[in-house]
Symmetry: C2
Subunit: 181 residues, 2 copies
């Protein structure tokens, strides 16, 4: 009558493991995501998952890849300012949709193809703004550090009691002004 199965559709796959991990992380908190709680969520023994993820680090890397794959890129036809604002807003929206998973961005290097795609889009916009290649790479890192840092601060309660939309918008405005100048 009762089984522990919460999510028993077909055989276990990497995608099913990662989807369940994302669900658990956002529902219960990233620090409550363990191989054992995840196995419980999937109605499976912990060891069954080791077919699909090498270990917990590999699981977290997979979650980070999945997260960045969700980030849309701006239309190439837009002017560079609009593209940068678009990406800042989308990164912010991503952080709001997945506040727990977003923390992974500052906790481990993102090396997947979607991470590269995102960085390239920002650098490309900065190059169009007339900025040289090295400076554009540095600005890209500055911008992403700020956006990620703000989102993480919000999640971790460092900005408790503040209007974080305003905080975020003010930061982006200041930085884009700095880029233009």
């Amino acid at each position: 009558m009762f089984t522990a199965y919460t999510d028993a559709a077909g055989p276990l796959t990497r995608e099913r493991v990662l989807a369940a991990a994302g669900r658990v992380a956002e529902r219960d908190g990233l620090d409550r995501l363990s191989m054992r709680t995840l196995a419980r969520e999937l109605g499976v023994s912990p060891m069954a998952m080791y077919r699909h993820v090498k270990n917990k680090d590999d699981l977290l890397d997979g979650l980070l890849d999945r997260l960045l794959a969700e980030l849309p890129l701006p239309p190439e036809s837009d002017p560079w300012q609009a593209r940068l604002r678009f990406m800042a807003a989308e990164l912010r929206a991503l952080a709001r949709r997945h506040p727990q998973l977003f923390v992974l961005l500052l906790q481990r290097p993102a090396v997947g193809s979607d991470a590269v795609r995102t960085r390239d889009a920002v650098e490309h916009a900065l190059r169009e703004a007339g900025i040289g290649p090295e400076e554009a790479a540095r600005l890209q890192r500055l911008l992403s550090t700020v956006v990620i840092g703000f989102a993480l601060s919000e999640v971790s309660g460092r900005f408790a009691g503040l209007d974080s939309d305003r905080e975020f918008d003010a930061a982006v405005d200041l930085l884009l002004d700095a880029v233009v100048a």
Copy 2:
């Protein structure tokens, strides 16, 4: 002949517990700091420490307070630009001295008196730059988010292979230019 005692000077105090915790965190990594490894470091049973820290969260809060207490403030006689650069450089030096503990700054809100002291010094400098109270508070958060975000990125390997001194200096320059403009 042999004992487990590594640090057996006198009775256990909160200060001795925190000092040992900082040592373990920097030596073995923040994620390897456990109540049990810390007890081993102190040559004591884990439960002995619960006299001096309420729980592990209280231990981490104590570590964060101790970290910020180490941050020097700039001479009040200096002009505001010099004071901001001084603080950025000192925060950076603090991150280099305690890369593991520094991560705590983005992981939990800093509420101790030294945290307040530091934020006030930055805001005060910004007010002297002619910036209004709300804007100064926001800029203070932006500046600290950037500095902390960069230091954390470095520790977590997000900037692997880059000259992080250059990264940091370029970020501070750009932000201070933005403040002036």
